[in-house]
Symmetry: C2
Subunit: 302 residues, 2 copies
Amino acid sequence: MIDRLNRVFPPLERTLVGIGDDAAVLQTPPGGGCLLFSTDAVIEKVHFTAATPPALVGRKALAVNISDIAAMGGVPLWAVVNLGLPESTAVSYCDRLYRGLAELAEEWGVEIVGGDTFRSPGGVVIVAPTVVGKVEKNRYILRSGARAGDLILVTGRLGENPDRKHLVFQPRVREARFLAERHPPSAMIDLSDGLFSDLRRICAASGVGAELDAAALPVRPGVSKKNLPAVLRAAGRGEEFELLFTASPRRARALLKTFKSSVGTEVTVIGKILPEPGRLELVDFSGRRRSLPVSGWDHFKA
Amino acid sequence: MIDRLNRVFPPLERTLVGIGDDAAVLQTPPGGGCLLFSTDAVIEKVHFTAATPPALVGRKALAVNISDIAAMGGVPLWAVVNLGLPESTAVSYCDRLYRGLAELAEEWGVEIVGGDTFRSPGGVVIVAPTVVGKVEKNRYILRSGARAGDLILVTGRLGENPDRKHLVFQPRVREARFLAERHPPSAMIDLSDGLFSDLRRICAASGVGAELDAAALPVRPGVSKKNLPAVLRAAGRGEEFELLFTASPRRARALLKTFKSSVGTEVTVIGKILPEPGRLELVDFSGRRRSLPVSGWDHFKA
């Protein structure tokens, strides 16, 4: 779908990065910093259910887009929100959804500057925010910069309270800014489709391969380190919204020293980048190489 | 709905104009010009039908947002497009929709820099673009600047081929820029909900009243100038996407001299702004004052 889009919409000069990364990177009209531009919709029956508290629906819709801005190394500034509601929706549902959205917006200094509400003729709630952020020129972080020999790192723990994390996660803005300012990764992405899928994205964009070390994967404490399928299930599921990034061994060593004490979040080396494009491997608990699982949960998206 | 949004999302300092006008006005991070930010969704069964050619659906979705940028006096630069498709949608439908969108984008120098495609569980096509544009600081035109004594003007002709115009209209970017640069209106809006509804919006935002002259309304040639209901129906319908604006009599006289020869579009004085808020009148063909019709077609939107 991204290829189709890129064929139909070839990039202009004032656009530094168009379709295909976590967010577009736009040169502001007069010069100076760059704008980041992210849009992702959350849909009832796909990303949440009718039983999901509306405040968490609003929160999630904004959080996934803030997470995309973070994955570019940027700071979110503004959002507009397109909200599709079934005809029968109570006003209180809408109010609570907006409140959840507004609370997260306030927490991250994001201002909601516009929106459109439409009747959703299909009877499902659709929340489609667009978030605009900023990043210093030459400080944004793409998916395409991973180089052979780079280490692969991930923030936080994977597989934690999976029914809830996708609704209440904190977008990793502080972590991303710490990296962008102090220890710029060679490539970065947020884990929306799952560790294995999103690592494949970095590798495809960078033209490299990768190996992950199963024993190093930072899964939640309850998962037995002896049960490989359980570890891979926990690590590979989608909507974790942690940062997955690559850095040279020297840079990785430097950031490992101060990351947790500076931003309060764990960071773990989980593998390394290989020179061969398409070589995607997992080193299991007994040191055997296997092919990398294909995906956790790959939702339908462009 | 706008009031609700404004209560939940109070504006921050870097935002010059938040929710409630045609587009948000944002101060770019380093200074310089301003960004404009518009989002409006078009929905099957609300704004088009299953029989509408997909290229025109894509075109319209982008055009309504470019029109909002124009109504602020700005130039559109970038767009992202959220596209919701029923599961059964043919790839060719999607391609043709994108192509219609891309053609209009190219025509106006707008770059599509991102997008998300989602399965529309309700089975209707939803196209929700967000367009970002630019405008010089202090040159953007709000709805709130109309003053007693200002004349009311409108571009183009109203009621033309109503089944088709809402799909193929040209957003009035050139006209708006000509005004913003040479003869800044005191207030401006694009006609999305209809002349009467949108004039009410200008009056409400500006705290003034207005009178329209029925005989002056520039309706399409086929409408008898003796048939008041027909004239009002033609003039009042929604989705005309002409510019409605106000200007002092002196400025109006100046712009009337050069507008058509400069941009090729008609412009007509159709009434004047009254000092009394809430006084909304129509002067009919015999010079009698009536109250202004309430609306043409007021679709459900925030």
